[in-house]
């Protein structure tokens, strides 16, 4: 058990090759080929049930792929899930906070789970709380926080160990616009230090903040590139139009 994350191997942050996941007859993710560069803010978009969360769950080691390969920060998702866990942070839609613990206790717990102890851990806690503006509420129970505060606390917990890559699964669902803006400032701050970010979202303004986007539809990656490239690829005026068009196609196919 190492205190600092085992140095992530060089190369792209994420590489998937023909990654596939099925649940019985249902194909959740089909033949996904994807590459995410180090330090990139990558957005994964798609209607509900398009395979975003399944993709994240495979990349974070929560779920084994049915077939295909993937590496995350240089480690194989099948063989080195332990090494991946040390080098990534994950923030789920549910935030994964202990509501009966205070802000500082939540951070201390996750920092401890990531192997930080003693003065090293306490220094990191102070640092995180300052960066994310949590200091003034350090002693407040997480359960009594509003959505925006919970979100920032969850991010603090997920990044306590300075991971090389952070997965954010719909992090801003149910959070007010001001808090969302604040959250994105923090995401850019992380990215500026070289942290790779993979984020899923339903908000088009957030999608436009990503450096590159991947569009999933019924398990297939059907669009990839910068906002500009994706819009041109579909010959539609905006990302929002692309999204709506995809949703319409999905529903048409399902009907």
């Amino acid at each position: 058990m190492t205190s600092l994350p085992q140095a992530p191997a060089p190369g792209p942050a994420v590489v998937t090759r023909r990654l596939r996941k099925t649940f019985g007859h249902l194909v959740a993710v089909e033949s996904l080929d994807l590459e995410i560069t180090r330090g990139e803010v990558f957005g994964l978009l798609g209607p509900n049930g398009s395979g975003k969360t399944t993709t994240i769950r495979m990349l974070t080691g929560l779920m084994q792929p049915t077939s295909g390969d993937a590496t995350v920060v240089g480690f194989d998702v099948r063989r080195d899930s332990e090494a991946i866990r040390r080098n990534i942070g994950y923030m789920s839609q549910k935030f994964g906070l202990y509501e009966d613990l205070t802000i500082v206790e939540n951070i201390r717990f996750y920092a401890g789970v990531y192997g930080l102890v003693g003065a090293e851990r306490e220094t990191r806690i102070v640092e995180l709380m300052n960066e994310l503006g949590l200091t003034e509420r350090a002693g407040q129970l997480a359960g009594t926080l509003s959505g925006g505060w919970k979100q920032r606390l969850a991010l603090a917990c997920a990044t306590a160990h300075r991971p090389a890559m952070v997965f954010l699964d719909e992090p801003t669902a149910g959070v007010d616009p001001a808090a969302r803006r604040r959250f994105w400032e923090i995401i850019y701050m992380l990215a500026s230090r070289g942290t790779t970010i993979l984020v899923t979202t339903h908000y088009m303004d957030e999608a436009e903040r990503c450096q590159r986007l991947g569009f999933l539809s019924r398990g297939h990656l059907i669009g990839l590139g910068t906002v500009q490239e994706v819009v041109e690829q579909f010959k539609l005026p905006s990302i929002e139009d692309v999204f709506i068009e995809l949703q319409r196609r999905d529903e048409g196919a399902a009907a």
Partner: protein
């Protein structure tokens, strides 16, 4: 990195620390965990007088001799039987019991005194209304005991006189008066440990699943061992605290005899606690919500209360009920506890039950760890 450093950084510690903070903050549950032993003890010790006194009894004395009258007197003197009248034939005995006027009958046949004189086994019969297994067990034990005692007294020889009419073996010598407050203390310890270890532990883990923190934990480097140990050890400690509360209160309120070796007692609690924690872990692995976990643990606890020998003597149960009882760790735990606590027996008398308990612990933990690991994946 040195072993000590690895130990220091083990994710077990933050897990343990978190559990204690959460436990401290959940005042209601904590108060329940510590308060329940006291309330249950008072409830069972004072209110539920399972000791059976004064079972209304009719006498059919066909011998009409000083010996037979002496036997009936001895029975009455145990205070388990309250003689409500004498009858003259068996039909009247049956009627009295069927109408519910009597719950027991002492029948001394005509040849009782002559058999005694000739040195034969003099037989007397005690009929007990077995509808209530508690009173029947108490009455039967009293009858058997009195029978054994009356032999030497009536004849001057040590031959057993009364063969109990119903073949139920009760071992009355460590609790000859069927003092239930004594008998109930080991039972309360067992039931409480079962409730705490199984239902509270099960729910505590399922809560993490419900709130999404379990998923969050799985993407951290926390090991499954740390997760499970950190989650269960605090409850094991609570269990030991409960045992201590019951023992101290039992001593203060009911003066229960602590005959056995307390160190041995605390040691023997361990396999039972582990087995129960295993069950709790298993329940948490097969349920998705706290409500489900609570229902399932209730489903598990009911047979423990009814069939383990906690409430009713197992000997008085129909065979299938005895089989179910034999599959419950609590059954063996009760034997062990009653043995050590009340009889003061040593390890060599209860090693078999202790071994079975340990077996339960190993199997249940192995099963639930496997099941739990799978659901976490």
């Amino acid at each position: 990195m040195s072993l000590i450093d690895r130990l220091r950084r083990a994710s077990f510690w933050p897990m343990l620390r978190k559990e204690f903070i959460q436990m401290r903050r959940d005042r209601f549950t904590l108060a329940m965990l510590i308060g329940i032993p006291a309330i249950q003890l008072a409830l069972f010790g004072y209110a539920v007088q399972t000791e059976v006194r004064n079972v209304p009894t009719v006498v059919l004395d066909q011998s009409h001799t000083p010996q037979s009258r002496r036997l009936v007197d001895m029975m009455a003197n145990t205070r388990n039987f309250r003689i409500i009248g004498t009858v003259t034939n068996r039909e009247a005995v049956r009627n009295a019991i069927e109408r519910g006027e009597a719950a027991a009958a002492i029948i001394v046949p005509p040849e009782f005194a002559t058999d005694l004189k000739r040195g034969h086994t003099a037989q007397a019969q005690v009929i007990v209304d077995a509808a209530d297994p508690l009173s029947s067990a108490a009455a039967i034990s009293a009858a058997a005991l009195t029978g054994a005692r009356s032999g030497p007294e009536l004849t001057g020889r040590s031959t057993p006189v009364v063969a109990p009419a119903v073949d139920v073996r009760v071992r009355p010598w460590y609790n000859p008066e069927s003092r239930s407050s004594h008998y109930i203390v080991p039972g309360i310890i067992g039931i409480l440990l079962t409730m705490t270890m199984v239902s509270i532990t099960g729910a505590a883990i399922v809560r993490e699943r419900e709130r999404g923190t379990l998923e969050q934990l799985v993407v951290t480097p926390i090991g499954k061992t740390s997760l499970m140990l950190g989650k269960t050890i605090p409850f094991a400690l609570v269990g030991y605290l409960q045992v201590t509360v019951i023992l101290v209160l039992g001593k203060l309120l009911f003066d229960i005899p602590l005959r056995g070796n307390l160190v041995l007692l605390y040691l023997l609690i361990a396999p039972f606690v582990v087995a129960s924690l295993g069950t709790g872990l298993f329940i948490s692995a097969v349920t998705k919500t706290q409500v489900q976990a609570m229902q399932l643990s209730f489903f598990f606890i009911m047979p423990n209360i009814l069939l383990s020998g906690f409430m009713f003597p197992r000997a008085a149960m129909p065979e299938p009920a005895q089989w179910v009882g034999a599959a419950l760790p609590l059954t063996y735990f009760l034997t062990v506890m009653r043995g050590v606590l009340l009889k003061g027996v040593a390890m060599n008398d209860i090693w078999r039950d202790a071994l079975i308990l340990t077996g339960f612990a190993v199997v249940l933990v192995a099963m639930s760890v496997r099941k739990f690991s799978k659901t976490v994946e």
